[in-house]
């Protein structure tokens, strides 16, 4: 479980988060949506414990699995060496990863479907593959909370699909609390139970995705008019999709 209770963050006179309360239980998935500069990243950093709060409280396990938007790795490490870093918290300052840690790393790599890249160099992978390796590293921490910062922002459609179905798989197991930020409401429909909308100004809206992500709320959120459409899937279940009115083309 991870939660913020009336959390506030101020940078000088500017209030970025105002009494934000969020709570994600294990087995739940939360998508955070908001326009650029509204404080999605600050909210995420506050949940991760990287951002000191001006007010309010944070409850979280000691280690939170974190998937950054882009890897801050400028050294040349192998994929396996990157994933085994997830075990660092249990190894301490002078610890060295042992065979069991490498086995655990290989197991999570297999889970994200990249075991065949274990010995490859991380910096030679494509952006999508790197994102999956970082997800594997977050899983290797063994934390029951997973926080992803715009995990699909820089990925092409195929890789977005790969990442979202993987998130779906992890979510289906029900042993993790998942939080991710995104710009695409369709990602929230695909991989979240709840959504948190950080509206311009200071207001936030939260609740189950199908109640929170509505055309009206999205228009308020992004200032772009939207249509939501429901399409039947192959099994008769309904899929909801968002159509923004780009270049003045409004859907009927």
């Amino acid at each position: 479980m991870i939660s913020l209770e009336k959390a506030s963050v101020r940078f000088g006179p500017r209030t970025v988060l105002d009494q934000l309360s969020v709570k994600v239980e294990v087995g739940q998935s939360l998508a955070i949506l908001g326009p650029n500069g509204r404080g999605k990243t600050t909210a995420l950093r506050a949940m991760l414990g990287f951002q000191p709060l001006s007010g309010g409280t944070r409850t979280a396990p000691e280690i939170v699995g974190y998937v950054p938007q882009a890897a801050g790795i400028n050294q040349r490490y192998s994929v396996l060496d990157v994933v085994v870093m997830g075990r660092a918290a249990r190894l301490g300052l002078f610890g060295q990863p042992q065979a069991a840690d490498f086995d655990a790393a290989r197991e999570v790599l297999a889970e994200v479907g990249l075991l065949h890249f274990a010995e490859a160099m991380f910096d030679r992978l494509s952006g999508g593959e790197r994102q999956l390796v970082l997800l594997a590293r977050a899983l290797a921490t063994g934390s029951n909370v997973l926080v992803l910062d715009e995990p699909a922002a820089a990925l092409d459609l195929k890789n977005q699909e790969r990442l979202l179905s993987l998130l779906g798989k992890i979510r289906a197991k029900g042993d993790k609390a998942i939080i991710f930020t995104t710009h695409d409401p369709n990602h929230a429909f695909a991989a979240a139970d709840d959504a948190l909308l950080m509206l311009p100004g200071a207001a936030v809206l939260s609740g189950p995705v199908h109640e929170t992500i509505t055309a009206k709320h999205l228009e308020a959120l992004y200032g772009v008019s939207m249509r939501l459409v429901d399409m039947p899937g192959p099994n008769g279940d309904m899929h909801r999709a968002v159509l923004p009115a780009f270049a003045g083309k409004v859907a009927a």
């Binding site: 950093r45 991760l48 280690i63 801050g72 050294q75 490490y77 192998s78 660092a88």
Partner: protein, 354 residues
């Protein structure tokens, strides 16, 4: 699960990597051994290898044995302490460079960048000006190196946070200040008294190494090296950006300062007995990365072996190439700068090709 278990078994390619690394370790150790013997046997008075081994073996069996023959005295009293000190200093400086480049995420960083070397040089110049040698000199050098580091830390800490860029900038400022102070001391020193001693000392040399001096420096070098080596996996974590390192359970700020303090201990110990010896911490880790990659778990030990071999070799050249001994710091810079330039070009060419 069975399919995973099958995949988990080592592939032939992995085994190939393991044996390649084993070959590099063995090669580096043999190189170090060869350089140590070259350092002990070559010189104005050359001794052949079997005789050198015999002399050392006899002295190990009976350390208190009287040294009568001239070659025994040269090997045991002059060359062994000198070679040992050069080896430990080279290993420790290479490890410092590798560790600093890791935590700064920047391949150009060395103890000079943090102002530690300049602080230590200032301490040494003061000590020589005051006529202090031996352990008190080490204490002054180490204290000044650490003071430079503390000053950098104080300047770089803004609103309770230190960022890497501000540390580098503060290091340059503090380094420049201490360099100016060293010049001031040189200006004030008596040209017929301590001035030549200060100037030669700043150029770096192992020429005056005795067992006593080696015993002063080696403990600090070894403590620094052992702790850096013990943190080799942690250095991988600290080489990530701050948020990632924190999310993996590290305390990057605190642990960075621990590394800096270990580097100050190493640089202080080395500078106290042999003056300013630069470039090892830049050249050796870069060359080692070409051999074993960037993973600090291999980079640290291989850098230590190669750093030791390199400094012993340079020191041997310094005292055998010409009739007068060339200052070591001059040679390491003359060799180091062009080699480093080549390595750097190679590094960026390869990265751009990636």
């Amino acid at each position: 699960m069975t399919s995973i278990d099958n995949q988990l078994a080592g592939t032939p390619r992995q085994l190939g990597i393991v044996s390649r690394h084993a070959a590099i370790y063995i090669g580096a150790m043999l190189l170090l051994l060869a350089m140590i013997f070259a350092g002990m046997c070559l010189g104005r008075y050359s001794v052949d290898v079997p005789r050198a081994m015999q002399i050392i073996w006899l002295s190990i069996l009976d350390p208190a044995r009287p040294l009568d023959a001239i070659d025994e005295r040269i090997i045991i009293l002059v060359r062994v302490p000198r070679v040992l000190l050069a080896a430990f200093a080279g290993a420790a400086l290479a490890a410092s460079g590798a560790a600093l480049q890791g935590v700064f995420r920047n391949p150009l960083v060395s103890p000079q960048v943090l102002g530690i070397s300049q602080g230590a040089a200032f301490g040494g110049a003061i000590a020589i000006l005051l006529g202090v040698w031996g352990l008190p000199l080490l204490a002054i050098v180490f204290f000044c190196g650490l003071a430079a580091l503390a000053l950098v830390g104080f300047l770089a800490r803004i609103d309770g946070r230190t960022e890497i860029v501000t540390v580098i900038l503060s290091g340059m400022i503090v380094g420049a200040m201490f360099s100016a102070l060293v010049s001031l001391i040189q200006f004030l020193a008596d040209p017929n008294g301590p001035l030549p001693a200060i100037v030669y000392w700043l150029m770096g040399s192992f020429a005056s190494t005795t067992w006593e001096r080696a015993a002063i420096a080696v403990p600090g070098l070894v403590i620094g090296m052992v702790f850096l080596w013990a943190m080799r996996f942690r250095l991988n974590i600290l080489s990530l950006d701050e948020a990632e390192a924190r999310s993996l359970g590290a305390k990057p700020e605190l642990e960075r300062w621990l590394i800096f303090a270990l580097v100050a201990l190493i640089v202080g110990s080395q500078v106290a007995v042999s003056g300013i010896v630069g470039w090892i911490g830049l050249v050796i880790p870069h060359a080692t990365r070409l051999l074993v990659g960037h993973d600090h778990r291999r980079l640290l030990p291989v850098s230590m072996l190669l750093g030791a071999a390199y400094l012993v070799a340079v020191d041997t050249i310094a005292r055998t190439a010409t009739s007068a001994e060339i200052p070591l710091g001059v040679l390491t810079a003359l060799v180091g700068a062009p080699v480093f330039a080549m390595l750097l070009r190679h590094h960026y060419r390869e990265r751009n090709a990636a």
